[in-house]
């Protein structure tokens, strides 16, 4: 149940991620000096927290999106199945974020 509102919240958060994505490309096309500011901002603690948040939000939104696509076919709608896939989606995104950033940091 809680994943329903989390899907919306991660969705809105990822819209902010879209702005960061665009800013990354815009700054990179503007030249090395301009790009350096962006890189420093994203390398700072708030920047890293934002990027980790985007990674988690993307994985959770994607995993939960797959649940929605499966539901659209009429499958997995039993409460027991829905609860199980909810925890699976949450575990997958938490673990995925940890693995990806564990490699990077």
């Amino acid at each position: 149940m809680f994943l329903s509102i989390l899907h919306r919240m991660t969705g809105v958060f990822l819209s902010l991620g879209l702005v960061v994505f665009a800013l990354w490309l815009v700054r990179a096309s503007a030249g090395p000096e301009q790009y350096q500011y962006f890189r420093a901002a994203m390398g700072s603690l708030p920047g890293i927290v934002l990027l980790i948040g985007c990674t988690f939000a993307f994985l959770l939104h994607a995993a939960n999106g797959i649940r929605h696509l499966v539901w659209d076919t009429g499958r997995g709608l039993e409460i027991r199945d829905a609860n199980r896939s909810a925890w699976l989606a949450l575990a997958f995104s938490a673990l995925g974020t940890a693995v990806l950033w564990g490699m990077r940091l």
Partner: protein
């Protein structure tokens, strides 16, 4: 009596005269994003570094540039559709709602075109 069959009257009715288009577009863009998103995440986390030259080399590669542009369009489309639903659900004052929807559309178009222009610009600069 009208010379109008019940079916013809029903078609195109409903709250907004259409309904499934938005739903279907949201699902199709979600499938595109699933594929492009996994590719992008994989490439991001296997990128050598985020130094200017490494990022420039990554974006300038033709295949990467094409996929990044597809990713930009899919993300902007999907995000626009999603934000639209959220505005329609939570903003009830008609004027504020309409203005929010227009603002969201303009912002999404701006962000998407800015990203697309930058990708092309990086690619052409490397020639």
């Amino acid at each position: 009596m009208r010379l109008h069959s019940p079916l013809a009257r029903v078609l195109g009715s409903g709250a907004a005269g259409e309904g499934t288009g938005h739903f279907v577009a949201q699902r199709i863009s979600s499938v595109a994003l699933l594929l492009l998103g996994i590719w992008f995440l994989y490439r991001l986390f296997s990128l050598e570094s985020f130094a200017f030259l490494d990022v420039q080399r990554f974006v300038a590669d033709p295949m990467n540039a094409v996929l990044l542009m597809l990713l930009t369009v899919s993300m902007a489309h999907h995000s626009w559709l999603g934000i639209q639903v959220i505005i329609e659900d939570y903003v009830h004052e008609p004027l504020v709602k309409i203005l929010s929807l227009i603002a969201s559309r303009f912002l999404h178009a701006f962000v998407a075109v800015a990203a697309l222009y930058s990708i092309v610009s990086i690619g052409l600069n490397r020639l």
